[in-house]
Amino acid sequence: MASRDLLGAAARPESLTFRQRWSHYIAVLYCLVATLIGLNLRDAALTATISYTNSQAGIRAQYPANWLIDESGNYVFRVRDLSRPGFKTTIQVATRPVSPLTSTRNVLDALNLSRAQTLAAYEVLSEEFYALPDDVAATAMTYTFVDTQDNPFLQSIPVVVQGLDILTIRGGQALVITFLADASAFDRLRPVFDQFLDNLEF
């Protein structure tokens, strides 16, 4: 009998007190809020940007935080995501002098001829109209090439890279905004570039 009473007592649902019930509600709510804050912080960290201004070139941009910025090359600036395995996702802004008679076609040809000299398996995939923010007309050229390791003592497997140039001619110079990423992740990483374009002022 004692065991039956004991079992019966154990099986019987015990009603929670008002205080206990609200404690549970608050705990669940607290977890939800913390999760939301965490997600928000994560998104903020992942989409955090750093301001860049180049008054000489007349360019203002927001590039992803923790990307390595370089202004020493033959471009206005270049940022790379060094934490990316394989090919380092790259956004680059460059200018080229043009004459009043220079067309977009001429600039693209010059880019293609130059790249074909240095990039392996370089191939243009498409050229199409592109509208930059503020309805600035531009041309988008998609291309691909194979990236190889420069160090002759390392064994690296070449990576297929997809590139996208946004080209517009304005103010006596051609502005070439380039996005380069591992071809297998190009579409997934594209929003980063779109965000960059949205914030670009020139």
Binding site: A65, N66, I69, Q155
Partner: protein, 742 residues
């Protein structure tokens, strides 16, 4: 904290492991040298194939891909007629080389048998972007500091392509003197070096390049040639003697000192090319069809500043440490291969022999091979000279016994005689005029001894005086040569005989107008800038040019220089020569505005430029000008010394290498917390390969605190400040770093 601990543990483990492996107390950085040693193939395009025509070793001497090697295996010639140069590396120390790049010759001295290549393309033909290469390289030593019996290490590829880099050790057995290079034209070694290692590197104990092991294969159609066919180049299904064969030399015992490569390296680094007018080209004329020949072999105990023998000897006393074999040469070209074989009491002696090497002199003239500060053991020495594998002259010398007080003439100098009978001038270049005087020293002469004076002009005897000695036992005497119509410009020679035995001889040059006792050969020497070469004569001279000027001209007028007279043009920047060429004068006898054009690929670099003009090693004129601030910029990548850092990044769970990881080293000014992800804050950046291996492409400096960041997506980053290396740290330093997924 945890990340720093990981790195610290990795460093400690790497140090322990590396120390255990090394453990040899070895100071020379062989790993870096091995990685800087390349295999070079010269190839020729035939249809769609590349046929290897010549091979050799080379050494990378700059971070951006300048390769020092032999000219004979790279410069297109009859023997090596390829037009493409391929550079191959051994990715692993024990593996044969793999083609990686193509290169072009940017500087070469065929006679010195040195060439400097620049890597310009990937192996598949793509252009290498300037500045994108960061290759391991070695520094050049001052080869004048090399000592006799010093231990050296010779590195190169011993086969024709299938062997890994080989390392041979030996000692410096002596030095060979030649007119072109002075007392140290060659460093001799007794190390066993196969001919295919020609073009590689010889190193001192500090791991600096002291010279290039050199031997030149003899033209294949002649006796003594050695070459190996390796490809079916004629498509007959067989690889045999009918196919193109790759020439290989015999043994190497000669090292061309690295100081000869400095001007080439400096010119290539500066990006300056020197252009001379075609009509007055300084290269030697077309290759003569006649067989090269040596004649009038004789010995001298020493040479003077003009490279002339002080006297002529028939024997050398015991204990002598200096000897020169002189000879006349003709029909020589920079492609001629010459060799000296020496036997002592009939036994071949490699110490005093010179393996087959390229000819670095002119087409004809007086030459010597000598050695100084090296004991010559007693014995009967037989010297045999070969030209393109053919015996071309022999001479015998006895070394031993006491010095005998025999009658001698010595120390001939030339000039114009003053009122007291003393010849004045620069000694070996006289102005045109009516007379030339020579003064010489005599010793142990006896009255009544027959002696003879013979003067030559351009190889033809023009005067002979046979006399009986009437002066004292010892002293100085002057003889003269006078011409009725004056002495013509050109090359002269004086021979003095005692009892019909050659006792002393010397060459001298007459050129230029008379200006006191000195010749005025080159005048109005100056620098100028002009849009085109044709306009240089109308341009005023200048002593300063703006930064970035693309071309400047060195100009001078000349008078009374006979065709064929050897003259030297030397160009230097900040007192460092970057161009020197000695060649026969091939222009008119007198003229104005000889122009030497200096062109810079990216503009002439800032610096103080000097142009010197010499005849017979005698400096006659110079001009100097500044470009920009008048001083060369400092190259922060110029130093090859320091510690090589490499290693592997592994997954802490799987213990497998992680590809694509970024290994970032910050400069000493920044810590990890200061890092703003700016490129100019980086000291170096490396990315791991498919095995997780990485190599930092810049040597780390001792005791400098670096900050390290190792990062990749999917793993917790590892960071550390104050990463510094000490003198005891093994070089190269192998790091193993584990990353934790996160």
């Amino acid at each position: 904290m945890r990340t720093a601990l990981y790195l610290a543990v990795g460093v400690v483990l790497a140090v322990i492991v590396s120390s255990a492996v090394e453990g040899q107390g070895q100071t020379i950085d062989l790993e870096r040298i091995r990685r800087a040693t390349v295999f070079i193939m010269q190839a020729r395009s035939v249809s769609s194939d590349l046929i290897v025509t010549c091979v050799g070793s080379g050494t990378i001497v700059s971070r951006d891909g300048l390769v020092l090697t032999s000219a004979h295996a790279t410069f297109p010639s009859r023997l090596c007629d390829g037009e493409t140069l391929i550079v191959a590396f051994s990715v692993r120390a024990d593996e044969p080389p793999i083609p990686k790049y193509r290169a072009e010759i940017v500087q070469a001295d065929i006679g010195l048998d040195l060439a400097l290549l620049r890597i310009t393309r990937q192996f598949d033909g793509r252009l290498v972007e300037p500045g994108s290469l960061a290759l391991p390289f070695v520094e050049l030593a001052d080869s004048n500091t090399v000592q006799l019996d010093q231990t050296i290490t010779v590195v190169g590829y011993p086969g024709i392509g299938h062997d890994p880099v080989d390392i041979r050790r030996g000692t410096v057995g002596g030095f060979v003197a030649e007119p072109r290079g002075g007392d140290r034209a060659w460093i001799k070694t007794l190390a066993e070096i196969p001919g295919t290692m020609s073009g590689g590197g010889a190193y001192n104990q500090d791991g600096q390049l002291i010279g290039v092991p050199t031997t030149a294969p003899i033209i294949s159609s002649l006796q003594g040639a050695a070459c190996i066919p390796v490809q079916d180049t004629n498509g007959d299904g067989l690889v045999n003697a009918s196919d193109v064969c790759i020439p290989v030399g015999g043994f190497i015992n000669s090292i061309r000192p690295s100081n000869f490569a400095r001007p080439l390296l400096r010119a290539a680094t500066l990006g300056i090319s020197v252009e001379l007018p075609l009509a007055l080209g300084t290269s030697f004329a077309s290759i003569p069809e006649r067989q090269p020949a040596f004649r009038r072999l004789f010995f001298a105990p020493s040479v003077n500043e003009a490279g002339m023998p002080t006297s002529v000897i028939r024997s050398l006393p015991a204990g002598a440490t200096s000897l020169y074999l002189f000879f006349d040469y003709e029909n020589m070209t920079p492609e001629t291969v010459y060799e000296l074989r020496v036997t002592v009491d009939g036994i071949p002696n490699r110490t005093f022999s010179l393996a087959p090497v390229r000819w670095s002199g002119g087409e004809r003239g007086l030459w010597y091979i000598g050695s100084v500060n090296q004991p010559w053991p007693n014995g009967v020495y037989d010297f045999t000279l070969f030209a393109n594998g053919v015996t071309s002259g022999t001479a015998r010398l006895l070394v031993g016994g006491a010095a005998e007080p025999a009658p001698t003439f010595s120390d001939i100098v030339f000039g114009l005689q003053d009122s007291r009978g003393t010849p004045l001038g620069n000694g070996f270049v006289l102005p045109t005029g009516d007379i030339a005087n020579a003064r010489f020293i005599y010793r142990n002469m006896q009255p009544g001894l027959p002696w003879t004076v013979i003067w030559y002009y351009e190889g033809i005897e023009v005067r002979r005086d046979e006399q009986v000695w009437t002066d004292g036992l010892s002293g100085a005497k002057t003889v003269g040569l006078a011409g009725e119509g004056g002495l013509f410009p050109g090359a002269y020679r004086l021979e003095l005989y005692i009892e019909n035995r050659l006792a002393a001889t010397s060459d001298f040059t007459i050129a230029g107008a008379q200006e006191g006792v000195f010749p005025r050969v080159f005048t109005n020497v100056r620098f100028a800038s002009a849009p085109t070469t044709a306009e240089t004569g109308r341009t005023a001279s200048a002593s300063a040019f703006p930064t970035g000027v693309r071309a400047i001209y060195g100009l001078f007028d000349w008078q009374q220089i006979r065709t064929g007279t050897l003259w030297t043009l030397r160009l230097s920047v900040d007192s460092n020569p970057f161009y020197e060429r000695t060649a026969p004068w091939s222009g008119q006898e007198s003229g104005a505005d000889f122009s030497v054009r200096l062109v810079g690929e990216m503009g002439i670099p800032d610096g103080t430029y000097r142009m010197e003009l010499l005849v017979n090693n005698v400096p006659l004129q110079l001009a100097q000008a500044q470009v920009g601030i008048g001083q060369l910029p400092i190259d922060r990548f110029a130093s090859a010394s320091g510690l090589q850092l490499r290693g592997q990044i592994l997954d802490a769970e799987t213990n497998r290498g992680i590809p694509g990881v970024s290994v970032i080293l910050l400069t000493a000014e920044y810590s990890v917390s200061d890092f703003e992800w700016r490129e100019d804050q980086l000291f170096a950046l490396a990315v791991t390969d498919r095995n997780g291996r990485f190599q930092i492409d810049r040597p780390l400096e001792l005791l400098v605190p670096y900050s390290v960041i190792v990062a990749t997506a999917g793993y917790l980053p590892v960071t550390a400040d104050g990463f510094r290396i000490g003198p005891e740290t093994p070089n190269p330093l192998d790091l193993t770093i584990y990353l934790t997924r996160g």
